[in-house]
Structure formats: structure tokens, C-alpha cells
């Protein structure tokens, strides 16, 4: 089980390990993973439930229209002989439109225990500034 925290810049997320994230763009139909989104003065935090996905099988892109796209390949091999099904196994895709206040070159991704956590920083100019008052 992965316990080590992994921080990596945008676009690198899918490029490590054995290249299993290659061609994720053409992977066809995919499941929409559950998400949770939080915001602070400085950052946006997006967490995505992608059970079955190994490190290196996630690809994160932000296009010209500021749409963040997450693609992940599910590495869980379904056993044979299903007798009760509550979930189906497949790849994951989800996209989010980012407003202009976010810096699309400042995205960090961390994958642990089938949970992908993205941190999107706000641009410096939109962050609130605390102005100290001099005597």
C-alpha cells in the first residue's frame, strides 16, 4: 500500500512509472468519479475517488479554455465469477472549468489509496494581501 506522499507538477502526473497513462486520451467511455472541492484564500483543493488506479496511470491537463481534465486508467483486474455487483470497474474521467483567478501552471497532484488530491493555486494578483499598518 502506498503511504508515501507524492507531489508532482502538472503534466508530470501521468508520465512517471511505466507509462501506463499513455493514450489515456483515447480511452473511450469512462466513469465520473465522486469529487469533493474546497477553497481557501490561496488554493482550490479537488479530491477525486478513483479506486483501482495505480500511480502513473493518471493524466491531468489544462487546456486553453482553462478546463482541467483528469483521466485515469483503472488497473484493478476484475475477478471472474461475479455473483453480486454494486460497482462496475472502468476508467475515470472528469473535467472542471477553472476561472481566470487560478494559475494553471501551479497544480499539484497526489495519489494515495485510490484518492487523487489536486491543489490548484490562485494567481498571485488575486490572493488577498495583508497590509501591515505602520505606526
Amino acid at each position: 500500500m502506498a503511504t508515501q506522499a507524492e507531489k508532482q507538477p502538472r503534466r508530470e502526473a501521468g508520465k512517471e512509472a511505466d507509462g501506463t497513462a499513455e493514450n489515456l486520451v483515447e480511452m473511450g467511455s469512462a466513469f465520473l468519479p465522486d469529487a469533493a472541492i474546497y477553497e481557501t484564500e490561496d488554493d482550490l483543493f479537488i479530491s477525486l475517488d478513483i479506486p483501482g488506479v495505480e500511480k502513473g496511470a493518471v493524466q491531468i491537463d489544462v487546456d486553453e479554455s482553462n478546463t482541467l481534465q483528469m483521466r485515469a486508467r483503472n488497473g484493478f483486474e476484475e475477478p471472474t465469477g461475479i455473483v453480486l455487483r454494486e460497482f462496475s470497474i472502468g476508467n475515470y474521467y472528469r473535467s472542471f472549468r477553472l476561472s481566470d483567478e487560478f494559475d494553471k501552471d501551479a497544480i499539484n497532484a497526489k495519489l494515495e489509496d485510490g484518492l487523487l488530491e489536486l491543489t490548484v493555486a490562485k494567481k498571485e494578483e488575486v490572493k488577498p494581501r495583508r497590509i501591515s499598518i505602520n505606526a
Binding site: M1, A2, D34, A35, A36, I37, Y38, E39, T40, E41, L44, F45, S47, D49, I50, P51, G52, V53, E54, G75, F76, E78, P79, T80, G81, I82, V83, L84, R85, E86, F87, E112, D113, G114, L115, E117
Partner: protein, 142 residues
């Protein structure tokens, strides 16, 4: 606690049976205030052993308990909500907090040989069948 059961009745339409169970579970979980059917689980019959796969993204190994008592498998634990100090919640679709699910396995398994592993947010429980429950080839005599 909801106790779900499942059967192999041929020609019964497993999906339909499952839907009925799902509704029952949702009803019970809804009444006691737990997110319906979390974590989701699949059950497989592999002939020699039964497998239960549980989707538990973001749940740590130390936060899951698996217990097999007689033929009832219980998976309990908790999923911690992410902690971002001073963060406002914009959206929360994921289920957090304590969970508990039980499923009756109507096949004799070797309780002493049950193994569970957690990998990439999927818990896999292997339950080897006891000898009398394993499939047997019956020779046809002339």
C-alpha cells in the same frame, strides 16, 4: 445494521434480486443516517474460493476492520474527510465518516484461511471454501 443476503437462484435474474436488496439497504441505512451502501462491494465465486472486493478510496489500512463471524462478513471503519484549514466546502460528493456493512456468505468458508489486502483503495477479501462447499465433478456411470 443492515444484513444483506444473496442467492444463486438460477433464472431468477440476479440484477433484479440485487436491486431489491439495494433498496432494502438504502432504506435501512437511510433511517439510521449512514450513506447508502458505502462502501460498495462486489462478490465473486471462483470455485475454490469466494472473493469480496470493496471500493474504499481514501481509507487507510489501519482504519478498516474485517470480521467474519459464522457466515457473516462485516466490513467496518471510517473514512476521514480531507482537512484543509480555513477551507470552504464548494462540493462534497464523497462519503466520509464511519461505515459498517455486513453480508452473509451462504457458503461454508475456511474462517481460519481468510485473507484481506488493500491496494489502491480497493479492499480484496479472499475466503477459501471449505472442502464440502467446493464444486465437485460427478462422474456419470454407465
Amino acid at each position: 445494521m443492515a444484513l444483506s443476503d444473496w442467492t444463486f437462484t438460477p433464472g431468477m435474474g440476479f440484477e433484479r434480486e440485487f436491486e431489491r436488496l439495494r433498496r432494502q439497504m438504502d432504506d435501512v441505512f437511510g433511517r439510521i443516517g449512514i450513506g447508502a451502501g458505502f462502501p460498495a462491494l462486489n462478490i465473486y465465486d471462483q470455485g475454490e474460493e469466494m472473493l469480496v472486493a470493496v471500493q474504499a478510496p481514501g481509507v487507510k489500512k489501519e482504519d478498516i476492520n474485517v470480521e467474519l463471524r459464522e457466515n457473516t462478513l462485516t466490513i467496518s471503519g471510517s473514512r476521514k474527510a480531507p482537512e484543509y484549514p480555513d477551507a470552504g466546502v464548494l462540493r462534497e460528493e464523497s462519503v466520509y465518516g464511519a461505515f459498517k456493512r455486513s453480508v452473509r456468505i451462504p457458503i461454508k468458508v475456511r474462517n481460519d484461511k481468510v485473507e484481506a489486502t488493500l491496494k489502491n483503495g480497493i479492499l480484496l477479501i479472499r475466503m477459501p471454501k471449505s472442502e464440502e462447499a467446493k464444486p465437485k465433478q460427478i462422474a456419470i456411470n454407465a
